[in-house]
């Protein structure tokens, strides 16, 4: 189980490296999107290890908020307002 968590930590740190280092704004947006998906997997694994199901609720809410945030950032990059 520890190896699984270490693998997911490695994924998170690679995403954080790209968020800090990325030369342009779309690089950082891609990395934020990927970090959100990795954290949903992390919440699922945490729910399996502890046997409590509210971690999966956290993962579901995190997936929703990450999706909405990514769409908002993509619209912002495109240079348009939110309603067209």
């Amino acid at each position: 189980m520890t190896a699984f968590f270490l693998g997911l930590f490695a994924c998170c740190f690679m995403c954080l490296f790209r968020i800090g280092r990325g030369p342009s704004a779309p690089d950082r947006t891609v990395a934020i999107d990927i970090l959100g998906i990795v954290i949903v997997g992390f919440c699922g694994l945490m729910g399996l290890v502890t046997g409590k199901d509210f971690y999966l609720n956290v993962g579901l809410a995190w997936a929703l908020l990450s999706f909405i945030g990514t769409i908002a950032l993509a619209k912002f990059l495109e240079g348009r307002s939110f309603d067209d």
Partner: protein, 109 residues
């Protein structure tokens, strides 16, 4: 038996996650990074959640893991498509060794 199969699914999913994140770090421009990381990480996380649903037996964890997997399967390609369109519109150039730009050709017409 189903326990071992679930653990194997979790391990393969985390391997896919790691490969996708290595692509995110190593590839040269936004579009390459987007296509490597989004596809690998979506598949890896869905396999991880399927493994969680198999290993935990029939309970609330199983049902919520399946709901999470379906939600990620719907939303991750949508978000990736929106990011690709947004980064093209914000003027990020392709890598100089990229050979084809169908979206730009379509926009020119």
């Amino acid at each position: 038996m189903i326990d071992i199969f679930g653990k194997l699914l979790i391990a393969v999913g985390i391997l896919f996650n790691i490969f996708g994140c290595i692509g995110l770090v190593r590839f040269p421009d936004v579009y390459n990074r987007l296509q490597a990381s989004t596809k690998c990480v979506t598949l890896g996380t869905i396999m991880l959640l399927a493994g969680v649903a198999m290993t935990s037996g029939s309970g609330p964890i199983c049902a919520k893991a399946v709901i999470c997997a379906v939600f990620i399967l719907i939303t991750a390609p949508t978000a990736a498509h929106a990011i690709a369109k947004g980064s093209y519109a914000s003027g990020v150039k392709l890598w100089e060794q990229s050979v084809v730009d169908k979206y730009g050709e379509d926009k020119k017409d």
